[in-house]
Amino acid sequence: MSRFLIFISAWLLAVPSPACELLVKAVDAVHSEPGKDARGSYKRGMVVVAMPDGHQWGARESLPTFVVIKLPGITVAKAIKYIAPQLDATTNTVRRRLWQIQVADIPLAARNKLLTTGSLTIGPTGDYTWVQFRNFIKNLETGLTETNNL
């Protein structure tokens, strides 16, 4: 039994915990043409890329243009849904992203932390739990907030 426990412990220590980081646009880009603005412009709260935990972001992948949402316990594969575009019935892109974090609706203390430090951690020991945070992630096609667990 003790050898089994030692083996399991070693295995658990060796296997990395799933975790990812989302690079999120912190400011709106605006195009004067409405259709192109919707289709092409990144808006505040849209996820640009998802990377594994510990990703060393570039010098400009930070405020004022970007913030980082850290999701310990969530794999990149699960978070990748938030970088999908909104498509029409003929699979043409109508909006840059289907999902958008409603930054303005995040409680003030968390919003201030996000916009001053450039980062929030979402998880059991983070700034918010996933169940709390998903209330601020909106499906732009349906208008509904995220209800799924990742």
Partner: protein, 326 residues
């Protein structure tokens, strides 16, 4: 008008002194770049370039041997024109050596999503490798005036090739899947012109094809690589000179060449010329450009295809052999 637009874009800011060129870098994580993916660069640099009077350059640099850039890119939402445009280029460190090289920068997708979708006009891409397992390596749409130089595109099993609108391709190589139902280089936009110079397509069922618009082809090389039912040049209506195919009566236009070309290592994406009719049978396009896919300077007589012919070095005469001769 469009010829003038391409010319202005190729000349760059040098001819319009007020334009500022803003260059930011894309490097792998931990190597000190401004961005770690081309996708983040595009998101961070979106702007109205004529209003700012800028050319914005994404300079891809660094050591990419640890793996490709796997964040798909869509270029859209900008405002550009012929003298205030988007340029994405690799530096020497990140650029392929004239053949497919997975240790250099590759924009890669493992599924059917195109690694790059170009929905913005006036975009230049130079020295970039694109890989898409089951979809288009380059997806051009809703845009005009794309300029591609020294690009290498590769698929695994895609039935779609790269799609372009108007503009120019030069010194590019396209490695087909052998499963194409659409061309490796496709023009399907009405009332536009795509000029294609010294590009090589290998192993694609359909090579160059035009369903709408006008494709002009010079010094282009199609080799079927043994695929079933090959068609190197499909419905081409533009001006074609000195193109080559391994299929009889396939290469269109003036001075077509037919024959099987021996490449350095086609199976691994090295289309250096070793033997065949592509050597020394190209038209001299030095009024337009002077280099090849590997950055070598072309000399007269020009060759057909993306790579300039480089003769093998002669065998070294052994010092002892000279003195042993009577």
């Amino acid at each position: 008008m469009r010829i003038a637009a391409i010319a202005l874009m190729l000349l760059g800011a040098a001819t319009v002194s007020a334009v500022t060129t803003v260059t930011t870098t894309i490097k792998p994580a931990g190597q000190g770049g401004d961005y770690t993916t081309l996708s983040a660069w595009e998101a961070g640099q979106q702007a109205d370039l004529p209003a700012l009077d800028e050319i914005r350059v994404g300079s891809i640099d660094g050591d990419w041997s640890a793996g490709p850039d796997t964040a798909a890119v869509t270029i859209d939402g900008w405002t550009t024109d012929a003298t205030r445009y988007i340029e994405i280029r690799t530096t020497t460190a990140a650029r392929h050596p004239g053949k497919w090289d997975a240790t250099k920068y590759v924009l890669s997708q493992s599924g059917a999503v195109a690694p790059i979708t170009i929905s913005e006009s006036y975009v230049k891409c130079i020295g970039i490798q694109f890989y898409c397992a089951t979809g288009r390596p380059i997806n051009g749409q809703n845009a005009v005036m794309f300029f591609g130089d020294k690009l290498i595109c590769k698929t695994l099993s895609a039935n779609l090739g790269s799609r372009f609108t108007s503009g120019e391709l030069r010194n590019c190589a396209f490695i087909g899947s052998g499963s194409e139902t659409s061309a490796a280089v496709l023009l399907n936009t009405a009332a536009v012109t795509l000029n294609v110079y010294n590009c090589t397509i290998y192993g694609a069922v359909i090579g160059f094809a035009e369903t709408q618009g006008t494709m002009n082809l010079s010094n282009c090389l199609y080799q079927s690589g043994g695929v079933a039912s090959p068609d190197g040049y499909n419905s081409i209506s533009g001006t074609c000179v000195n193109n080559c195919s391994d299929i009889a009566s396939d290469a269109p236009g003036t001075n077509p060449q037919t024959g099987t070309i021996t490449f350095t290592d086609a199976a691994n994406g090295d289309f250096g010329l070793v033997a065949g009719v592509a050597i020394a049978n190209g038209a001299d396009l030095s009024a337009t450009f002077t280099d090849d896919l590997a950055g070598l300077t072309r000399t007269v007589p020009w060759d057909i295809g993306a790579r300039k012919y480089v003769a093998a070095a002669p065998a070294v005469t052994q010092f002892e052999d000279v003195f042993e001769r009577p």
